[in-house]
């Protein structure tokens, strides 16, 4: 499938999925409430068959008061890629976990939780990944501050 065909097939499954402009790979944005159903559908669809989650990461858009969650999906069967993105508000960062669809998402979501503080509902074991368990705060948030950090002098 070419990129346009993937985007077309995806928008047939979820009509609220908007294709993103200026992307090297096919990419769509979906609303956060339909993410779990949408992911399950494109995983199970035989023509799309996204059976691997390459990367899951998050971007902190402080000015727009939202976290952007990115899922880079790959189909080993057909050899095509798709980037799915969704947004959650910074003050209530809750999204449903995709770890029941792709098992690797367990650790990737733990990493995003550890550094960004996004909460995944339905995750079997949402603990910190790299930092100590008693760490206070989420250090990759743009407004993170602690006593240890040095500010760059002017």
């Amino acid at each position: 499938m070419t990129g346009e065909e993937i985007v077309l097939a995806v928008s047939r499954i979820e009509e609220r999925a908007k294709p993103r402009e200026k992307c090297a790979m096919p990419a769509v944005t979906v609303p956060v409430e339909s993410l779990a159903v949408f992911m399950r559908a494109i995983h199970d669809d035989p023509a799309l068959s996204f059976d691997m989650l390459c990367t899951h990461t998050a971007v902190d858009w402080l000015g727009e008061n939202r976290f952007e969650l990115l899922y880079v999906l790959c189909s080993l069967k057909h050899g095509h890629y798709l980037t799915v993105s969704t947004s959650v508000p910074r003050d209530k960062p809750e999204v449903s976990s995709v770890s029941s669809i792709w098992r690797i998402a367990e650790w990737q979501e733990r990493e995003v939780y550890d550094l960004m503080g996004v909460l995944y509902s339905g995750h079997p074991d949402l603990r910190r990944m790299f930092l100590e368990d008693d760490w206070n705060g989420f250090p990759l948030r743009k407004d993170y501050k602690d006593d240890f950090m040095l500010e760059l002098p002017e």
Binding site: F130, L131, E132, P139, Y144, F148, M149, L150, E151
Partner: protein
Amino acid sequence: MGLVTNNLPAILDRLPGGGFCVTSIDGIINWSRANSLWPLTFGTSCCAIEVMMAAGASRHDLARFGAEVARPSPRQADLLVVAGTVVKRLAPRLKTLYEQMAEPRYVIATGSCAISGGPFIYNSYSTVRGADQIIPVDVYVPGCPPRPEAFLYGLLTLQKLIKAGESIRRPYIRRKPVLAALPSGMTADQIRAELAVLLQRDSTVDLSGEYAQNMQAGGSKQ
């Protein structure tokens, strides 16, 4: 015993406990310590590629200075080369490794990260600002990362410190940490020539010349 030590002050030396010892052994011990440093493989980032791999490989050949036997266990090592960034989570492990090493133990901090935190000194939530915040460091080798020549220079500096450092005559005396920076304008050919002279001087003993005369003069001074 007193008679013997009075007559042979150059060879024999009193110990704090009242015994005596042949002081040349002391020098030999330091000489052999300096020339058989076994480094602990402790590479946490890019410095490890230059320092532990490139310096140990055949082109630069750390084995010429007796420091090629990199050990994976701190119990068998006496030189801890902190090659790379130390983060908060690693700090207790680094301290444990240092404490597990047997005395005498030496530490070289290579690269900006291990010296001061380097490029991660500002706005970092995790990087420890220098390995010397956790363990005592003997020699600092600057660079980002240091070239293998710079690391060899640092190793030779440490060897000089060991030879001039703690001994039976001067127990518990250790040299202060030094910065082993390569002088500017140095070329690789100059370093090679200097190392050749050093190797010639440090790894050979001339038993017929000045050394023997010193021994005889010291022995017959009284």
